[in-house]
């Protein structure tokens, strides 16, 4: 069915509704306190962005820059690890024969439905018992290590490798004497780059946005992740929202860039994952 004028109109309203909070964040992040107290509300961006940003980054009790740096470290390490380990496992499940393969794959799918969040109390205790002074709580390890693999990643890579890598190609490489790891690097990885791009984007976004577990394990430390730092910015009796939202703007920007650059891939990735699951 071709789209009518009403279709376009309704969809435009949906897009406007989706974009409005982001626009509003920008409006507030660029204005002064006086402008924000006005009624009717200020609806246009002001010229205070640099001032507000400078305030965020120079705050004494919230180390926003370092927290951003931590977010970059955590998200990059987790993304790289998920891509590597989940592609390896996905390759094994899709193209290698071994005893118990099907049963183990069913386990992977089942683990996708386990809500990790409900184990936070025990996870916190476990992290406290990890080797090292005082365990891992309060360190980036506590946030990074539980994210190193995801069941969704294994599932997603397996689905893609099933179709994208022909069995004949794997066989041919074996006959040429290639080891399994060699086949992975020279045959599988080049063929699944698009899927890795999608999984990488989705993993990065999810890790960057994580809040509950980082709050529990890093809350109260000087250098948490940027999401926890944002909640610190918004705590207290006298909160300056132009400052909070200037910080939120900075913490959202990398993801907006990702959507801008890889939007088409992210859309395709979500839709492909949906059809097959």
């Amino acid at each position: 069915m071709p789209g009518s004028v009403w279709t376009y109109l309704f969809l435009s309203v949906v897009i406007a509704f989706s974009a409005f909070p982001l626009y509003w964040m920008f409006v507030i992040a660029t204005n002064t306190d006086e402008a924000l107290a006005k009624i009717p509300p200020q609806v246009l961006p002001g010229g205070q962005l640099v001032t507000n940003l400078r305030e965020v980054f120079s705050m004494q009790d919230v180390f926003f820059l370092q927290s951003l740096g931590n977010s970059v470290i955590v998200s990059s390490v987790v993304t790289a690890s998920v891509l590597f380990f989940c592609s390896l496992a996905g390759f094994a499940f899709a193209k290698l024969r071994f005893k118990g393969r099907n049963a183990l794959m069913v386990m992977v799918v089942l683990t996708m439905t386990v809500p990790n969040q409900l184990g936070v109390v025990a996870l916190y205790i476990l992290m406290g018992r990890m080797p090292g002074e005082g365990g891992w709580n309060g360190t980036l390890l506590a946030v990074i290590v539980p994210g190193l693999v995801t069941a969704f990643g294994v599932f997603y890579m397996r689905q893609f490798i099933l179709d994208a890598v022909p069995d004949e190609l794997v066989e041919a490489a074996r006959m040429d004497g290639a080891s399994t790891m060699r086949i992975f690097w020279s045959v599988v990885v080049p063929a699944v780059r698009p899927a890795m791009a999608v999984l990488g984007l989705l993993t990065f976004v999810a890790t960057w946005n994580e809040f509950q577990w980082p709050l529990i394990t890093l809350g109260g430390t000087d250098y948490p992740t940027s999401m926890v730092a944002l909640s610190d910015l918004a705590s207290g009796n006298y909160v300056l929202y132009r400052r909070v939202l200037a910080g939120a703007l900075v913490a959202t920007l990398p993801l907006l860039v990702m959507l801008f650059v890889g939007g088409r891939q992210i859309v395709r990735g979500i839709m492909e994952g949906a059809v097959k699951s």
Binding site: G3, A19, A89, A122, G177, S231, L245
Partner: protein
Amino acid sequence: MSTTRAAPETPRPGRDSGATASRRDRPYEPGPWRTRLHRFDMRYVPYLLIAPFFLLFAVFGLFPIVFNGVVALRHWRLDDPTLTGWAGLENFRRLFTDDDFFNALSNTFGIFLLSTVPQLLLALVVASLLNRKLRAQTWFRVGVLLPYITPVTASTLIFSVVFARDTGIANWALSLLGIGETAPIDWRSAKWSSWIAIATMVNWKWIGYNALLYLAAMQSIPRDVYEAAAVDGAGPWRQLWRITVPMIRPVVIFTVVLSTIGGLQLFTEPMLFDANPALGLGGDDGQWQTVAQLIYKVGWRDLNLGYAAAMSWALFLVILLVAAINALITNRLGGGRK
């Protein structure tokens, strides 16, 4: 030293025998060391490839949930490490008489209903519009994903400002419609208003994502089914309910289960809607305190990890129950077999 390839001790069926046969054509014959290496590669390397996933998941995913059950049966206080030991069912018994828990549970359900139902209905409508032949198709699809990639932390702080009593744009917009002109709505003061505000945030975030899931399923419905329905005089609305929804039922059930699991664990939105987020109170009287928030408060503010673990186990069971009931209802609504 023999250059002939050692015969496999036990001939293995299937693909391996084929590989052995074709290897005979090759001019180069591997030595015994290479053969052993090859056998190791074929037999054990697959397990090495999947081992990192299972090991990490077992330690940091599965174990905590099981161990949570043990913690729930013990006294476990962060401020007094000596106060440990078996508590039996004490933590669970306490749960049944805890007004805070039942308040949080009813808040969670209230917000869950206000967010899930409109969210999935609107996602259906948006998806069916996106499924039409559109110009700038990609642009629209990427556009509806804006909320999905926005950190909940950031968007909740924005909505906090939008729903401010005196200077918020929500009240200003309502006053243009003649609502609350004399006394602006204090969104945080009452249950109903805070639930609506939080549900709005959840709806905002997930409509586009769910719409894409529906759209993916809709694209496999053959066009001529709609053409036949149109000839029979079915309008777009009827087509959506009578054709589209039944035909994409698996995905609808999937999203219902997914949003049940997510909705009942709601944490970030209620936390940051508060003026003092780190306390986990959910309003002065806990108007919008969710169970996940209460778990945080009991565990890391009151430092009673044992009781918090019991709560999270109770929540886990509630989620399983509700997800199962929802899947069942959805299956029937969509015209599934009775």
